[in-house]
Subunit: 369 residues, 2 copies
Amino acid sequence: MTTTPRRARAPRQSDVARLAGVSQSAVSRVIGGDTDAARIPEATVRRIQDAIKELGYVPNPTARKLRTGRNRLLGVHTFEAVFPRAREDFYFEFLLGIEERAEEIDHDLVLFTSTGGSDGRRRVYRDGVNRLNVADGAVLLGVAADRAELARLEADGYPFVHIGRREVPGTRITCVVPDYESAAAAIVDRLADLGHTRIGYLSSGIDEESYADRRRGYESAVARRGLRDVSPASPGPGPGSSSADGDPAWLDAVADGAVTAVVADAEWLANPLAERLAARGLTVPRDVSVVVLEGVGPEAPVRWDCLQIPRREVGRLAIDTLVGMLDEPGQPVADVLVPCVVVAGETVAAPPAGTAPPAGTGPTKGSAE
Amino acid sequence: MTTTPRRARAPRQSDVARLAGVSQSAVSRVIGGDTDAARIPEATVRRIQDAIKELGYVPNPTARKLRTGRNRLLGVHTFEAVFPRAREDFYFEFLLGIEERAEEIDHDLVLFTSTGGSDGRRRVYRDGVNRLNVADGAVLLGVAADRAELARLEADGYPFVHIGRREVPGTRITCVVPDYESAAAAIVDRLADLGHTRIGYLSSGIDEESYADRRRGYESAVARRGLRDVSPASPGPGPGSSSADGDPAWLDAVADGAVTAVVADAEWLANPLAERLAARGLTVPRDVSVVVLEGVGPEAPVRWDCLQIPRREVGRLAIDTLVGMLDEPGQPVADVLVPCVVVAGETVAAPPAGTAPPAGTGPTKGSAE
DNA sequence: TTGAAAGCGGTACCAA
DNA sequence: TTGGTACCGCTTTCAA
């Protein structure tokens, strides 16, 4: 009976070397695949491989890491709950892409966890030690990423990329971000091409980089195409203060034909908008076209025309960018912009015929009162 | 301006030693908290700590691991999808307990991922190397855990515990399992105490250790209490072949009063059972009591009397067991049984008055035809 | 009390 | 081509 004896000590390269009758460095070379640099005779390679098999030798990743600084382990750190429930669908696709790509390039992934503090926020540093250090580098994500930690990580020279734009004063952190700006501009272009000349922007009021990107793309395209921007007054940030709620005057102006297309930050803004327009006798898209700047799933009640965030691709590119940083340390790395797809739905059409711009219909910018 | 210069190299103990004017080993001792063994003067300790702070020194976990074999990293490996959707609720509580306990004893958690194969199954070994090796040990979970890998892991001497009982011929793997057997027996005892004398077992037909445990507890208690077991014929294993579907004859016998209480493997068996009993004019629990052998959430439509799996506690104990193995290598470790709670619901009552056992109501075991 | 030095298991340079 | 050897950063004897 050939029961494997409880191996007291894992075999090392030196054991392999002894069995094969060669030096330890020869073993290391064969394992490292350095057969080109220092051509080792077929026979020797064979003997070494046999010895490896016989002993069941496997390289020790810890020793490797200590020596080379790499162990083909990539960290993933989300600043939110470990096993998110509500946010799960949001992260899921990113993580899929990350995992997919990591595996393709033969890296393993480690998900860092532990809440780290009584406040329940997930931290990178605990007692001053960077927990990510066991991995060669890390991908960070999470809408509420702690910026101070990002700055420290960067200052410590730890290689990482962040999914989603994150600006930290005095620090250059590498981000992989959906190209919201171009996509928003493309959406405006499409509306302009269809004949819309007076459009509005319905903002979520959320003060975060990605929302700013979208708005910027919208505004530059509006200017470039010479359109008239008739948006409601910007609401203060914070939940519940959607601008659709806040500006009935603007809605009345829309009903009056002041605007023939609306670009909305998010689906949860578009739904009440459609309701309120309906209450004023307007139909989407016959009277007003609506585009949503955040991908909506196929199970959405309305098939909005929308911008689709390429989450999977963003995840994959985050891995590639990170590994690029590891391979070329010290090189400055530019942010990576990932193109978004604009998906056609059922909420965009040409403006209603004969909707000439009513003369002097309110301000170009700001509330339409 | 005190901008931290881009640190080319992380500070090491030797740097700290030089700055503090002591030897490297002194630094190591202070960090290791060995102040008792080799009493270092207050002043020296202070100088070293100051130097540590000034340099921002943090210990290198890789070097530590290479030297001591430990790095306070515990792996978690699930054999199912990385970011489970459907199963999430099932695993979630285990993971909560694992994380909670790991943090209490100051260990970090590493979730291993990567699908490992084109078959989509998650593997521990890839190209023969144990990917868990960067961690001191690991907690494994997943209903379809690959047994061959468990055997190999054990043979390799890698420390791990498995959540849920897993039998592998020729191997002793340490498991942390809910004590289904005792809980099932306690349930039978309670029914017997209430006066039930003829009860049935509704099996899921799933061929797995945990289900076998439950049935064993049921059967031993039935025998011990001298009850009559009138269960439907065991269905073949596989989805859709629930025994409630498969045995209308048994249902008729129940309606006839052959059985006053039913123990069901899972909630998805109990729901159709209740419907079919209702169709025959029976009410739960007035005519028939029903207990479910798998905890059901508070949002369940029916508040079943049920067995609650102490998932959180199981997770915590898995960590404690694992760390125990690490602290005392070589010691054989017994499986850990975690008591289950039996939760009172609204589906158990005393048997209907005057339900004397009908004489000769069918076989003690098997189909009640 | 403190320091020098030997590894932990590999990698990679430099000689032979 | 091959082997000897220094070193990665830390822990832990063993001497001083």
